[in-house]
């Protein structure tokens, strides 16, 4: 009895599916944009791989790029100034970095909205008071906060680097809509952000030549840190844990073989 119900139910679902499968449908039109979009470029970073750690000098350069170029439109609201000690800055330097930013505050006497210089326990502010202001200042698009941008995009560091270095002339016949710029590394090939970097835009304190390529790598590394400040702790602990478990694995396998010796016995030769 149960068998016939089963055959019946099976047949019904199968039929519903096969009718769908054999229903002719229009061949999908290849999306012309897909032919123009490009996968992220190949690029390597010091912090890649099992053993990779952040390059502090690069992080400091990247921070300089963020501060002088990106911070005009992009917030970093999840990153607290005090965490910048990861980059090698001392307490006074961090106080100075923080003090250069203004954060929302309330006037102590009148209660009105006001601003005050930031202190290390504050986080980086957004350049805009709210999303409406951000959108109004940027042609209807909101520049995303960069705190997690590296983790939030497929392709991660390679993607960010490719977008920053990927601005070029649109191909023949490609219409770039008003307010956008052509960038084949961005989904849809049209990005709302105007090309942010040009050679020598920033003067690096350590004298590294500030090419677009260099600045893009540096700011990407900085943003990777901003999204994963605990990466180095994570990898270090990981090494220790895997080493420990490997030893424990060997010990437990030997224990296992010893305990099972009397049950398994000497292996027969034809097993």
């Amino acid at each position: 009895m149960i068998r016939f119900v089963s055959y019946g139910v099976g047949a019904i679902f199968t039929l519903a599916l096969l009718v769908g499968a054999f229903t002719p449908r229009e061949a999908p039109e290849p999306d012309p944009i897909k032919a123009i979009e490009r996968a992220p470029k190949q690029v390597t970073f010091a912090h890649e791989g099992i053993f990779g750690l952040y390059d502090r000098a690069q992080l400091q350069r990247g921070f300089q790029v963020y501060k002088e170029v990106c911070a005009a439109c992009h917030g970093l609201e999840l990153v607290a100034f005090r965490t910048m000690e990861d980059l090698g800055y001392n307490e006074d330097e961090i106080k100075a970095i923080a003090a250069a930013y203004e954060v929302p505050a309330i006037d102590e006497k009148t209660g009105e909205d006001s601003t005050r210089p930031a202190i290390p326990s504050d986080t980086f502010p957004s350049p805009y008071a709210n999303d409406v202001a951000a959108s109004a200042a940027n042609g209807g698009k909101i520049p995303p906060d960069l705190s997690l941008i590296v983790k939030a995009r497929p392709g991660h560091e390679a993607y960010i680097y490719s977008v920053l270095t990927g601005y070029e002339e649109a191909p023949e016949g490609f219409e770039v809509p008003e307010g956008g710029e052509f960038n084949p590394y961005f989904p849809g090939a049209v990005i709302g952000m105007p090309k942010p970097l040009s050679d020598d835009q920033v003067t690096y304190e350590d004298g590294t030549p500030a090419t677009v390529d260099q600045m893009s790598k540096d700011v990407t590394a900085f943003l990777a840190w901003a999204g994963e400040p605990k990466m180095e702790n994570r990898k270090r602990m990981g090494m220790g844990v895997i080493a420990f478990l490997s030893v424990l694995l060997v010990l437990s396998i030997i224990s296992y073989k010893k305990i099972w010796a009397d049950v398994k016995g000497p292996k027969p030769h034809d097993s």
């Binding site: 679902f13 599916l17 478990l245 437990s252």
Partner: protein, 423 residues
């Protein structure tokens, strides 16, 4: 419970005797983990039950600790998770353990299920163990779905949107049910708060059902790779120390693989879009659930035409639930008396086709809802139902199984250096 030759529990000192006379809890532990007799021929596919227990504990402990810092309100939920990642001592570790622990819980349970399918562990007298297992699986899926909403990222929000939207496929009662589940006619703060409460509750329900599952198992005792019954003490060994040590080896291997993910590729199994705060105005390009839902997502999206007066969307919902619920009936669909696929050559082929089919469905589940994936999903989903509802019952009736060995101890007695010809 279990077999009569199991060593009986004897309290060794006055304190344990006093406790045992009043509450037989030490006895219960010793008799289920110590002197419980298990077949001596279990292979490593039998480790996955204890591994599932391991990951349930991992999720419970990491989850309770995360709840000490998480805030379930839409304005702060995303930031509270980032605070855990950045400021809470070892918060990043606990969060990554919890996120990856969910994936590992599922992979371990899937292997555990497929072990059951291959070796006939769902057959008499273990039908109820199997059905309790299906209940655990459903609870796991609900828990995982609820938990994924909590960080309130783009995928959290839109995943909730899609899955609660499924209920609208039901005529008349659909939308009211959706509103009841969400606490509002939209996905928002009422849903987030409710999901947090339920996500905290369900794992304890899972733990309770797991206790029933193991209790039910200990009545007939464990199945084994040969699928034949235990005949006497020569076929079994006490759980301790034989399987405690074997389970330890399995646990260490599992923890090594788990650590590789947690420490070196913690975001590989996740979706980058969930690092974007939820935005009700911007739908992600491709809404995809976590990988362990992909096969079911493929089945859901495989129904594209209205059929027999039922809308395609409703077919998808019914089929998705049917795909899981039909597992409850498996002990009765598969009427073969032979348990283990080792002795069922035709069924063995079916089993491997099913594995391939589920992997194909999984791949389709993460693909965009375009050709050729839609058509592949349709054939692969059809095979899934054909497998369980038509082929398995059919093969059970017409298959000629291989002859079964006399007993478990038979092929493995060390004194038999050369196999005797079978009588």
């Amino acid at each position: 419970m279990s077999f009569h030759w199991a060593k009986p529990y004897e309290p060794k000192n006055a304190v344990s005797k006093w406790v045992d006379e009043r509450l037989p809890l030490p006895r219960l532990i010793v008799e289920s983990l110590g002197t419980y007799e298990a077949p001596k021929n279990l292979n490593y596919w039998w480790n996955f039950g204890s591994l599932a227990g391991l990951f349930l504990v991992v999720q419970l402990v990491t989850g309770i600790v995360l709840a000490m810092h998480y805030a379930a309100h839409e304005t702060v939920a995303f930031a509270s998770v980032e605070r855990i990642m950045r400021d809470v001592n070892f918060g990043w570790l606990i969060r990554y353990m919890h996120a990856n622990g969910a994936s590992f819980f599922f992979i371990v349970v899937y292997i555990h299920i497929f072990r059951g399918l291959y070796y006939g562990s769902y057959k008499a007298p273990r039908e109820l163990i199997w059905m309790l297992g299906v209940v655990i699986f459903l609870l796991m899926m609900a828990t995982a779905f609820l938990g994924y909403v909590l960080p309130w990222g783009q995928m959290s929000f839109w995943g909730a949107q899609v899955i609660t939207g499924l209920f609208t496929a039901l005529p008349i009662v659909g939308e009211p049910i959706q509103t009841l589940l969400l606490g509002a006619p939209f996905v928002g703060n009422p849903a987030l708060n409710k999901f947090f409460s339920l996500h905290y509750l369900l794992p304890f329900v899972i733990a309770g059902v797991v206790i029933l599952h193991v209790w039910a198992l200990h009545i007939p005792g464990s199945n084994n790779p040969l699928g034949i019954d235990v005949k006497g003490p020569q076929d079994t060994v006490p759980f301790h120390p034989y399987y405690t040590i074997k389970d330890l080896v399995g646990v260490v291997v599992a923890l090594l693989v788990f650590s590789a993910f947690v420490f070196f590729m913690p975001n590989m199994l996740g979706h980058p879009d969930n690092y974007i705060p939820a935005n009700p105005l911007a739908t992600p390009a491709h809404i995809v659930p976590e990988w362990y839902f992909w096969p079911f997502y493929a089945i859901l999206r495989a129904f594209t035409i209205d059929f027999l007066g039922i809308q395609a969307k409703l077919w998808g919902v019914l089929a998705m639930f049917a795909a899981i619920l039909l597992l409850l009936f498996l002990p009765w669909l598969d009427s073969s008396r032979v348990r283990s696929a080792r002795f069922r050559p035709t069924y063995k082929w079916l089993f491997w086709f099913l594995v391939a089919d589920v992997l194909i469905l999984g791949y389709c589940g993460q693909a965009p809802a375009e050709e050729p994936y839609v058509r592949i999903s349709q054939f692969a989903s059809a095979y899934y139902f054909i497998h369980f509802l038509i082929l398995v019952p059919l093969v059970a009736r017409i298959e000629t199984p291989k002859p079964l060995p006399r007993s478990i101890a038979d092929p493995v007695l060390p004194s038999e250096a050369v196999a005797q010809p079978a009588e």
